[in-house]
């Protein structure tokens, strides 16, 4: 940018340079004049859509186009559509400040501002609208990811192929998933009879009530990889696995406590899941198991 300015200033020392500079000024002036004329025309004849004057867009576009056309003919290079920017300032100052000093902010004015900015700064605004706007929508809704996953799924079905990332994922986790189902806790075979009932079951006599027992396990289900790969079914399975593992851990703690106190049963068992707030950006949950520890008279029949 600085180099360009220096070159421009240096060129003014020569006669050819000064003539070229004047031609460029003339092109800008021509564009600006045409833009102002079109804006006045639109204002005079009230060429408007939903109360929004068409000149707000037409004037900067026409100015820029006229200037570029003239520059191409006169100096054989672009002058940067400076008149479009000048018209943008003129139309904004007149249309939004002088003509409408009490103009409220609504959908039409917001839309107008966006379109005017688009006409004045096409590259920057288009980048913002396409890259940032769509990026934000995609990030919040995940809609583009779902579309991509949909087409990936079709591709995989047609060609009977699994994407490399998914294949690698399943290979890595095959044993983990298998092992979990083999090791799932058999909670009723640990020497303590667990009941959700409030009252003692028929045929079982309580010798002693030992009081309330409560254990908990805090867990978090951070499944970033599955989310990124769009493995919805696996994700659900893994979150459930995390939930069940947490419950089993809490249950083991509970049984350990009951056995330590000589209990062989638990009445009115409650299993409560709760959110305990985020930690390091992840959600944490807790599972609480509670009930009344009792000593039953031994009875293998019931």
């Amino acid at each position: 940018m600085q180099t360009e300015i220096k070159e421009k200033l240096n060129s003014l020392h020569t006669r050819e340079g000064r003539i070229k500079f004047l031609k460029e000024i003339a092109c800008i002036a021509f564009g600006t004049a045409l833009g102002i004329t079109s804006y006045v025309f639109c204002l005079y004849y009230h060429i408007a859509i939903f109360g929004w004057n068409f000149g707000l867009v037409l004037a900067p576009l026409l100015a820029g186009y006229a200037e570029s056309y003239a520059a191409k003919k006169l100096v054989h290079e672009s002058t940067g559509a400076i008149s479009a920017f000048i018209l943008f300032i003129i139309t904004v100052i007149y249309g939004f400040i002088i003509a409408n000093p009490t103009l409220g902010f609504n959908v039409i004015t917001a839309g107008s501002i966006v379109i005017i900015l688009q006409a004045a700064f096409p590259t920057a605004v288009n980048y913002f609208l396409i890259a940032m706007g769509l990026g934000i929508v995609s990030h919040i809704s995940g809609v583009f990811k779902k579309i991509t996953m949909f087409f990936t799924g079709i591709y995989e079905k047609i060609f009977n192929k699994t994407s490399k990332l998914k294949a690698r994922y399943f290979k890595r986790h095959a044993h983990t998933r298998h092992d979990f189902y083999d090791m799932e806790l058999e909670m009723n075979g640990l020497g303590v009879r667990l009941f959700t009932l409030e009252y003692p079951p028929e045929g079982l006599r309580i010798i002693e009530r030992k009081g309330i027992y409560e254990t908990r396990h805090i867990f978090s289900s951070d499944r970033k990889e599955e989310i990124e790969l769009g493995l919805q079914d696996v994700l659900e399975e893994y979150v459930l696995m995390d939930v069940r593992l947490a419950k089993d851990k809490a249950l083991l703690k509970l049984i350990k406590q009951l056995k330590a106190d000589g209990c062989n049963g638990l009445l009115n068992l409650d299993i409560i899941y709760d959110t305990v707030g985020p930690r390091k950006g992840k959600n944490n949950n807790q599972v609480i198991l509670k009930g009344t520890g009792v000593v039953f008279e031994e009875n293998d029949e019931i």
Binding site: N188, L194, F195, T196, P201, E202, T275
Partner: protein, 111 residues
């Protein structure tokens, strides 16, 4: 499979208590379903989207619990409890449906 939230069964004799059985299911909330639920509220319709999802998840959880009870040879589950818990989650709200009860084998009482 007979399901009951009570501790006893009328006109039945419980002959065996098998212990705790449970089932869990998850549903993840979705931005579009949220939006459409809101629309239905405005037009005085029923917000059936979540209701159907929750119903489906509850049925899945009960099926998982019943299948465990069947493995024990039970024909009923008493003291049944159902809870719905919001687990939060990276993608929005994840709701856990948790069902559990005491698996039993019963027979009809002779009058």
């Amino acid at each position: 499979m007979l399901l009951s939230s009570t501790s006893t069964l009328d006109n039945k004799t419980i002959i065996k208590y098998h212990g705790l059985v449970h089932g869990e299911a998850l549903i993840g909330s979705n931005i579009y379903k949220d939006l459409f639920s809101g629309v239905r509220d405005v037009v005085r319709g029923r917000t059936t989207t979540y209701e159907e999802e929750l119903q489906e998840a509850r049925d899945d959880a009960i099926k998982a619990m019943e299948s465990k009870a069947e493995e024990y040879g039970a024909n009923g589950i008493i003291g049944l409890k159902i809870s719905y818990n919001n687990l939060g989650g990276t993608m929005g709200n994840t709701i856990l449906v948790n069902v559990y009860g005491t698996a039993v084998t019963f027979k009809d009482k002779i009058q």
